[in-house]
């Protein structure tokens, strides 16, 4: 892969022949040729041609950690918006509390945020989430921001390098949901710093060597304070 620039592709762009290549995610095959199906970044890895989307809704995968916002409390479950095309169902059996029938509103109500895990995605794309896992709970305090779900891997960095960097320099608690929602908690100045860095990562997500530049940015911020 070239190190200069990531190539942007648009839907229906010709990417290669079926011979010698495998059609990966974000592509489709017609008459022995591989085409891109969405606006995205081209990535070729071991004979697989993939298109990583630039924009679009979050495509839920089982086991992902996400941040959801409760839309509705029903008698024995909640409907939670996780930025997927469909609202996700959170059943009372999937929360750590002992909830009586019809008492769901006492625990989570419209507008509350939760950290959750995707429990199940079925063929009809009906989504179920759960709070029964380590470190999953209702969010109290802090700040929630949003980036494109396709840019989440950039924010986390290789083996979590980018996110570790942000935590180290700002002493904030940060939780990145795979659906693009990010929860940040800390003192006000630190939150502003993290937000600034996140916006920079979002803007320059196509560039190489981003982690190093973010480190410089954060170091500079610290000097300014001193």
């Amino acid at each position: 892969m070239s190190q200069e620039k990531r190539e942007i592709v648009i839907p229906s762009q010709f990417l290669g022949d079926v011979e010698g290549n495998n059609a990966g995610r974000g592509t489709f095959i017609e008459n022995g040729k591989i085409y891109s199906e969405m606006l995205g970044i081209l990535s070729k890895r071991s004979n697989y041609i993939n298109v990583i989307p630039l924009k679009g809704r979050y495509d839920a995968i089982e086991g992902d950690f996400v941040i959801g916002i409760v839309q509705e409390a029903m008698a024995s479950s909640w409907l939670v918006d996780i930025n997927a095309p469909y609202p996700a169902l959170l059943h009372v059996n999937e929360v750590p509390w002992d909830v009586d029938f019809g008492e769901t509103k006492k625990y989570l109500n419209h507008g509350d945020s939760v950290m959750a895990k995707i429990l199940q995605v079925d063929a009809e794309k009906k989504l179920q989430i759960t709070l029964k896992d380590r470190n999953l709970y209702k969010i109290r305090g802090g700040y929630i921001t949003y980036i494109e779900p396709s840019k989440v891997p950039r924010l986390i960095g290789k083996k979590g390098s980018m996110i570790a960097l942000l935590k180290k320099y700002t002493r904030c608690r940060i939780f990145v949901g795979q659906n693009g929602r990010i929860w940040i908690d800390g003192n006000e100045g630190d939150i502003a710093k993290v937000l600034h860095a996140i916006r920079k990562i979002e803007e320059e997500s196509l560039a190489f060597g981003l982690t190093n530049r973010i480190e410089e940015l954060l170091k500079k911020d610290i000097k300014d304070v001193q």
Binding site: I10, P11, K55
Partner: protein, 242 residues
């Protein structure tokens, strides 16, 4: 409609100085609205069109959902100030027809099976009308869909051909549309030349029809290149590494 206006002069030039197979000037800008997931502003001659895409999101009311695939709701609307006399706002017979044919054209290019039970909503707002708004609207919708990151088999594009003073010409202007003999708007999938929409107003012989169709398809390809360039411009010029 009979008239005294001469639509083609002795040199074969049209009223606005175009040759028979020339398009009006097209300008496309992608991603102009922040609230919509995908958007496009398009100027096609005197037409000014804004398209915005929302979704895929759960289709409501529930009975409209299809458990196997997404549905497409295109809504074509003309602003009250888009024409000379004030247009009475709201959907009418004409705009409902156009909404329907555009929805059906878009259904053919979107990979709907990826989003069961969802709807993809496309709003097409005509701000200024000057003949050929359905083509301009569909072309803008194509760019907006790509901008929204929706999986597509192709970016749809539309263009019209027609007949004025006995000559087959490309992309009718306002007077040509009002006083001409026939109008043939089509939409195609430019990669395969598949026809997504074809309507005709007026009369054409079989030979004239074939010629007009070929001309319109060529016009579509010209417009398609402008569409693709507009999307590329928006995303390729994102900040690069120094």
């Amino acid at each position: 409609m009979e008239s005294d206006i001469k639509l083609i002069d002795d040199n074969g030039k049209r009223l606005d100085g175009r040759s028979p197979d020339e398009l009006r000037k097209i300008k496309i800008e992608a991603g102009v609205l922040h609230r919509a997931e995908g958007s496009c502003y398009l100027e096609w001659g005197g037409n000014k069109v804004m398209a915005a895409v929302y979704g895929p999101r759960e289709a409501l009311p529930r009975h409209t959902q299809n458990p196997l695939r997404a549905i497409v709701n295109a809504r074509y609307n003309m602003a009250a100030f888009s024409v000379d006399d004030r247009k009475r706002p709201g959907p009418d017979r004409r705009s409902r027809e156009i909404s329907k044919v555009i929805s059906e054209a878009l259904e053919k290019v979107i990979l709907l099976e990826k989003f069961p039970r969802a709807s993809i909503d496309v709003n097409i707002e005509v701000l200024n009308a000057e003949a050929g708004t359905r083509c301009a609207g569909l072309t803008a919708a194509g760019v907006a869909l790509a901008d929204a990151g929706i999986p597509l088999k192709d970016i749809p594009v539309a263009c019209a051909a027609g007949k004025i003073d006995g000559h087959v010409v490309l992309d009718l202007g306002k007077e040509e549309d009002n006083f001409g003999d026939a109008d043939l708007p089509i939409a195609i999938s430019p990669r395969t030349n598949e026809i997504l929409l074809l309507q005709m107003d007026g009369h054409l012989t079989v030979e004239e029809f074939d010629k007009a169709l070929e001309m319109a398809i060529n016009g579509c390809h010209v417009a398609s290149d402008i569409q693709k360039k507009a999307i590329m411009d928006k995303y390729q010029n994102a900040p690069e590494v120094k």
